[in-house]
């Protein structure tokens, strides 16, 4: 158990390389501030499919294939494929990767899927159980609206606290070869339920979990916020980020100077009317894959704590009056050079 630090953190015995990442997004994401950085921007959110669910799977399929080819590998040569999304029974992932013929581990951590996938993938490789692991995370605005809210063409106003589900799929190829941008360890989040029952305020539901995981990470590792160039949360948005900074500050840590949120980065809320910010598994996934990973490769960032966040709810649990537990998984990512 020597790799374990404190209650929640694991430090790998050697860096697990991120060989390549890929990002496939919808047109709205393509019009956002990061638009030019994505590998593929689709003109049609339907992606040539005949339903929103199939469209999401088409995005997953494309991003997984693209990531494998950017890593210089065949998809079939990966030892494990770990994938997560928001749809019931993970159908977005399943039908996107069913033809890959790779041992499959389906995960559900709501929008924290990319963090959960990188953590598990890193552990599999560090444990010596795999040499190459592909991690995928996806979400689609239209399939999420259909499942969690209203039919797309139904006329309803969105409250200003609501977030905008990112249409996209991201993949990352992890490898046992040491060098470059790598995962060095992770702090696995506990569920934190702050009693929020409003499904239109996900940022508030998740902020407590993000603060809990970030503070646990500092306590477990003994590191200070200054160790990292950036602490990047998944999809807290404007409201959740505000709450996060207050809570982390109250716990005695200052992260205002280096905190970023993928839900804030991915859209221009004034121009794109995205209210509280972007959300969904793809929000942290594609923002990391297209933006932060590239910033690290280019040497503009060298150490980040990547903290995808998720709201663990279903339409049924909300209708039955359950509050929304949040979850956040922190992944230590550094450019180790070489």
């Amino acid at each position: 158990m020597t790799k374990r630090l404190g209650k929640q953190t694991v430090l790998f015995s050697r860096p697990v390389g991120i060989l390549a990442t890929s990002s496939v997004v919808g047109p709205k994401e393509g019009e956002g501030p990061l638009g030019s950085k994505f590998d593929v921007v689709l003109d049609d959110p339907m992606a040539g499919a005949d339903s929103w669910e199939k469209a999401e799977s088409a995005l997953v399929k494309q991003s997984v294939q693209l990531c494998a080819s950017k890593a210089g590998m065949e998809t079939a040569n990966f030892d494990y494929l770990i994938a997560g999304d928001l749809l019931n029974q993970s159908t977005g992932s399943i039908f996107g990767v069913r033809d890959t013929n790779v041992p499959y581990l389906g995960i559900f951590g709501a929008c924290s899927a990319m963090g959960e996938g990188l953590s598990i993938g890193g552990m599999l490789i560090d444990g010596g159980f795999a040499d190459n692991v592909l991690v995928s995370a996806s979400s689609h605005f239209c399939s999420a609206e259909k499942q969690f809210r209203f039919p797309l063409e139904f006329g309803a106003q969105r409250p200003p606290t609501s977030s905008w589900t990112v249409t996209g799929a991201a993949a990352a190829a992890l490898t046992s070869k040491v060098g470059g941008v790598s995962v060095l360890g992770c702090t696995t989040g506990k569920m934190v339920d702050m009693g929020v029952t409003d499904a239109n305020n996900m940022g508030a539901a998740m902020a407590g979990a993000a603060a809990d995981t970030i503070v646990a990470h500092f306590k477990d590792t003994g590191r200070s916020p200054h160790y990292y160039d950036a602490i990047i949360t998944g999809d807290l948005g404007y409201i959740g980020s505000d709450l996060l900074l207050q809570m982390v500050d109250k716990a005695g840590y200052q992260i205002t100077h280096n905190h970023k949120d993928c839900g804030i980065e991915i859209f221009d809320r004034d121009r794109q009317n995205t209210l509280a910010g972007g959300s969904g598994c793809a929000c942290s996934g594609v923002t990391f894959a297209a933006h932060f990973y590239e910033e690290m490769k280019a040497g503009r960032l060298s150490k980040i704590l990547f903290v995808p966040t998720g709201a663990l709810m279903s339409p049924v649990s909300v209708q039955q009056g359950e509050s929304i537990p949040g979850i956040a998984h922190a992944v230590i990512i550094e450019n180790v050079g070489g």
Partner: protein, 146 residues
Amino acid sequence: MDISKSHYKKMVEKASPNSRLGANCAKAFVVGGLICAFGQVLNSLYMFWGANADQAGTYVAMSLIFLAVLLTGLGKYDDLATFAGAGSGVPITGFANAMAAPAIEFKKEGYIFGVGAKMFIIAGPVIVYGTLASMVVGVFYFFFGG
């Protein structure tokens, strides 16, 4: 986290922006009023063309429902609703949109379990409680209506 749920609730309320009630009400008033005024124009036209008052009312309802369903199918009604809110939700056009939108969305799951079963997911409660309310009023009217 070492923060009580009640304290967190206050923090959330402080951090969360409220809906712009005044502006939303004004927009709903204007758009809702315009839809109803348009209905009145149609009503006068149908009567001018020879319909009696009952017939004209039916024709107006048919016309507005047709237009709302057409705009829903073209993907425009939800844009109007984003601006107008209750202004486009309360008139008969809103009800038509609430039927057409799920019919389009769930068509992928087939005509029985998709369109047929899911068409009423939004409008269903309106019909159920509308019917119930009319029964309650009917009973009152029977006993006290004279």
